[in-house]
């Protein structure tokens, strides 16, 4: 095929053209085990570790495919998509790259070109269609986002109706899925106990669009982002707090990339609570639990949120860290559309992460992402593990009298 023909099909990769040849193919993104690093690195790519492991399952192979596409040596295909999407976009490759290549940006551009070429995955297409039509990716009536609020047993302010300092953006997973709804409920409870002036959107809350951004449906993502921007501006809120790592990254990093004048302060619940507890001298009860902490990739490696959740946890429990933490933490396997399209891969990766957690001897595996929480809980169930999977706010709620 002619190079010019392929380049026309690579609209999204084309925007990154100047760096397409940057990857020298050294392969550090495959593994890069290093006990001397702080924190130590025991492997890089969980997708490679839990798949057939050919080069396209990790960074180098993907970057070489991108180069070959760009040079007209290869065409987009469904077969290719089937491997390219077996990646939770956890950013471990980028954080390992000596040359600082922002690999995930390339993978997502490639996914966008695959989608435009009609090579996207059916599972994602259905999910993004639901997102487009119902404003959430779970194909549920968005009005059900009131369910958790109605179960609270106390009133909360409604953004757009009431004025408040902070908007609590629950996110679709915590708002709609009963098995992780406790995260939204306990967040509201904690905020109430702390006397935080906050509001929620309830059934008006629109998905942040993360799933569309991660899976390459850029037109849906942009449409959702614009809807959200209009809604949030109208609400008069300046600070948005979310308990979902996926929403957090999307609102904080992706929105400024597609929206003009996106000037909201975006905080993760863990970040907000850490500041609030410190500045107000809030005393938390030590629960006497033995916990370990899982860094969600979209809060950790993507944004750099590592210490606030640990600071809070250290006040209420004793922490034993896993073998891989912070920048070197292994992903749970759910993100990037993997759980939707490749549930077995997501589960296999989560089982590996759970094994790491179990090796600490902790009784609680704590995180700050409903999506990680759900996937790790699925793994615990599958393995018959006694490990209790909790969100940080659930423990904080217990620790506040």
């Amino acid at each position: 095929m002619a190079e010019t023909d392929t380049k026309e099909k690579l609209k999204h990769l084309g925007k990154l053209e100047k760096d397409i040849l940057q990857c020298i193919s050294c392969g550090d993104c495959r593994e890069a085990t290093d006990y001397t690093k702080n924190p130590p690195k025991w492997g890089v790519c969980v997708a490679r570790e839990n798949s057939p492991g050919f080069d396209p399952f990790y960074g180098r192979g993907k970057m070489q495919i991108i180069r070959s596409l760009w040079q007209g040596k290869l065409d987009l295909s469904k077969d290719m998509a089937n491997v390219i999407y077996q990646c939770p976009t956890c950013n471990a490759c980028a954080s390992t790259c000596y040359y600082g290549i922002d690999c995930v940006q390339y993978y997502e551009a490639l996914r966008a070109d695959l989608v435009d070429a009609g090579c996207g995955l059916d599972a994602h297409q259905a999910m993004n269609q639901a997102l487009h039509e119902k404003l959430n990716p779970y194909d549920q009536d968005n009005a059900r986002k009131m369910d958790w609020i109605e179960n609270l047993g106390f009133d909360v302010k409604r953004a757009g109706v009431d004025t408040a300092d902070v908007l609590y953006f629950a996110g679709c997973t915590a708002a709609l899925l009963p098995d992780v709804q406790a995260i939204a409920i306990k967040t509201a409870s904690v905020l109430r106990k702390l006397g935080v002036d906050y509001a929620v959107l309830g059934d008006r809350e629109i998905c942040c669009g993360s799933v569309a951004a991660r899976t390459g449906d850029r037109s849906t993502f942009r449409a959702i982002a614009e809807k959200n921007a209009a809604l949030l501006r109208e609400s008069g809120i300046k600070t948005i707090m979310t308990s979902c790592a996926g929403c957090y990254r999307t609102l904080k990093i992706d929105y400024p990339g597609v929206l003009d004048d996106w000037d909201f302060e975006i905080l993760h619940t863990a970040e907000f609570l850490d500041r609030f507890i410190e500045s107000n001298g809030i005393q938390l009860k030590n629960l006497g639990y033995h916990v370990t902490y899982h860094d969600p990739c979209h809060a950790g490696r993507h944004v750099g949120l590592y210490d606030p959740p640990r600071r809070i946890l250290s006040k209420i429990a004793s922490i034993s860290e896993m073998k891989t933490i912070k920048e070197s933490a292994k992903c749970c396997g759910a993100g990037g559309g993997v759980k939707k399209a490749f549930p077995k891969l997501a589960l296999d990766i989560a089982k590996s992460r759970l094994a790491e957690a179990e090796a600490t001897g902790a009784e609680y595996l704590v995180s700050i992402c409903p999506f990680c929480n759900r996937n790790l809980a699925d793994a615990a169930k599958e393995l018959g593990s006694s490990m209790k999977i909790k969100d940080l706010v659930e423990l904080v709620d217990e620790a506040i009298d």
């Binding site: 760096d19 040849l21 940057q22 020298i24 193919s25 050294c26 392969g27 550090d28 495959r30 593994e31 890069a32 085990t33 290093d34 006990y35 001397t36 690093k37 130590p40 025991w42 057939p52 492991g53 050919f54 080069d55 396209p56 180098r60 192979g61 993907k62 070489q64 495919i65 070959s68 040079q71 040596k73 290869l74 295909s77 077969d79 290719m80 491997v83 390992t96 000596y98 040359y99």
Partner: protein
């Protein structure tokens, strides 16, 4: 033979082989999809065109490798083994044929802390093995090549690699007690070498049972067999380590030799690494620093980076004192801090051993300017030859400047790395752009430069395809040696299927001398 460049025949044979390999390894671990081939089409160099294998397979056991070899022989399909794929010299890609990605065989099978050896599958990376060993107070000494995060033990042995630890512990073959290897013959024969050739023995030593057949597979760049397991020598990990830097008062490579020789005579075991950063490179490094000091440093000559290790702090202190006395005597050198040129570099007092230095230091020179990649010309020379080697290299570059790729940066040595006894590596190369118009220019210059180095007596490693061919082109081998080499290969690989392009051994009928190339003289002979 199938799988040669331009071969469009034999597609059905390839398909038959693919089906049979699938029966051996399962459908998940073999592929002939185009996007997979594209992903495996390059190594780290700017000179080779993309090369697509017909079949890529990830065997999980020695038995599977053996079965694949039998199938390849049945259909006369070429094979190329691949470790981490961080090869700098075109060694682990193939145009057509079967590419064996061996990284699935990455397990540590035994660490024997009593008898000081370990058994590993050859697809394990140096970083993974070293990390496990060091936490147990053991080490291979040599920590593998500069690409040790991704490079495998098998690749290191196949390339006789040097790397961090080489000053004290030598090259990869020096720590190898034997290998398990699959011969590329029709039977897919599996052998164990070293003392492990004695079927009753543990793999605890290299010599004694038979001739040193391990050596046949060291530095063979995957031409003699497919290494599946390695038996490696272990040493206790010295717990006390330190680093010191010294800058020569003058840019004098004769003085570099004198100091290396004196260090060798007087300090011995205390030196784990002696690395000389040539004067132009330390200037380059200063220019590349992200956070430069306000005051421009005075860079007078090459910098010695010396790492020490010992089992007792008092002994370590004596080693440092000895080196200080040698290096600082009569103002030959001054103490130096990398911090003087790069504020991100730690001060000597904060020096700590870390694998990142060992495995990332050279990355900065592999691609100095983004988008360019180095054509490596790493080669060993006797230390007494450092001055002449530097002069010859510059003379070559000056004479043939116009033949280099556009804007190429040529460095005779990014470092001069002291190896055991009296030899050192010139870790050098020149850069090129990985674009189709520039690739042939880079390749032509690469061969020509290596031929020149071979002719002044340099001994390369990372031979791969480009350098092994250039050695032959330089006429390095006597006719008797060339015949012996081919006869040895014919014994293990009668159908000439394993890595056939390397050393220009495309078949057994050709005379290697037909590839010899005359080159225009560019300098006076060494020593004049």
């Amino acid at each position: 033979m199938l799988g040669k460049q331009g071969d469009n025949e034999g597609g059905s044979e390839i398909q038959k082989a693919l089906g049979e390999i699938e029966e051996v390894v399962g459908s998940d671990y073999v592929t002939d999809k185009d996007f997979m081939k594209a992903a495996y089409s390059r190594n780290v160099d700017p000179a080779f065109p993309d090369r697509w294998a017909d079949i890529i397979v990830r065997p999980g056991t020695t038995e599977e490798v053996s079965a694949i070899v039998k199938i390849a022989n049945k259909y006369k399909i070429v094979m190329v083994p691949r470790g981490g794929g961080a090869d700098l010299v075109g060694g682990s890609v193939t145009q057509g044929g079967i590419l064996l990605d061996l990284t699935r065989m990455n397990h540590i099978l035994e660490i024997n802390p009593d008898d000081f050896y370990c058994v590993v599958e050859c697809g394990i990376t140096w970083g993974a093995l070293v990390s496990e060993l060091h936490l147990k107070g053991l080490t291979t000494g040599l920590l593998g090549p500069g690409s040790g995060y991704s490079a495998t033990i098998g690749g290191g042995l196949s390339n006789s690699t040097a790397g961090y630890g080489s000053t004290k512990y030598g090259l990869a073959p020096d720590i190898c007690l034997g290998v398990e290897v699959v011969l590329p013959d029709p039977e897919g024969t599996v052998l164990r070498t070293g003392v492990a050739a004695n079927k009753y023995a543990k793999p605890f030593a290299r010599y004694g049972v038979a001739p040193d057949f391990t050596g046949l597979f060291m530095g063979d760049v995957g031409t003699m067999g497919i290494k599946t397991k390695a038996f490696l020598k272990l040493a206790p990990l010295p717990p006390f380590k330190a680093g010191r830097y010294y800058m020569l008062a003058k840019n004098d490579y004769g003085k570099v030799f004198e100091l290396l020789k004196e260090l060798r005579y007087k300090v011995g075991e205390g030196l784990s690494d002696v690395i000389v950063v040539p004067h132009p490179v330390i200037n380059l490094q200063a220019g590349m620093a992200k956070h430069k000091p306000e005051k421009k440093p005075r860079l007078t000559g090459s910098v010695f980076m010396i790492a020490f290790e010992a089992f007792d702090q008092r002994v370590l202190d004596i080693y440092i004192q000895q080196v200080d006395e040698i290096m600082l005597r009569d103002g030959v050198c001054r103490s130096f801090e990398l911090h003087e040129i790069d504020l991100d570099e730690p001060l000597t007092k904060d020096w700590q051993f870390n694998l990142e230095f060992a495995y990332h230091y050279f990355n900065r020179f592999i691609s100095v300017v983004p988008g360019t990649i180095s054509c490596t010309t790493c080669h060993k020379i006797p230390i007494s030859y450092i001055k002449d080697g530097e002069r010859m290299s510059h003379a070559f570059d000056a004479k043939f400047r116009a033949e280099f790729p556009d804007k190429s940066l040529s460095l005779f040595a990014t470092v001069i790395y002291l190896l055991p006894n009296g030899n050192a590596v010139f870790v050098g190369g020149f850069s090129g752009y990985n674009t189709e118009d520039q690739q042939p220019i880079a390749m032509q210059m690469w061969h020509k430069k290596v031929r020149a180095q071979v002719r002044y007596g340099g001994a390369h490693y990372w031979l791969g395809e480009s350098i092994s061919q250039a050695i032959v082109e330089a006429g390095a081998f006597t006719p008797d040696f060339a015949t012996f080499f081919k006869n040895m290969k014919k014994v293990v690989d009668p159908n000439c299927l394993l890595s056939p392009n390397k050393f220009h051994v495309h078949n057994y009928d050709e005379d290697m001398s037909r590839y010899e190339e005359e080159d225009e003289p560019y300098s006076q002979e060494p020593g004049t």
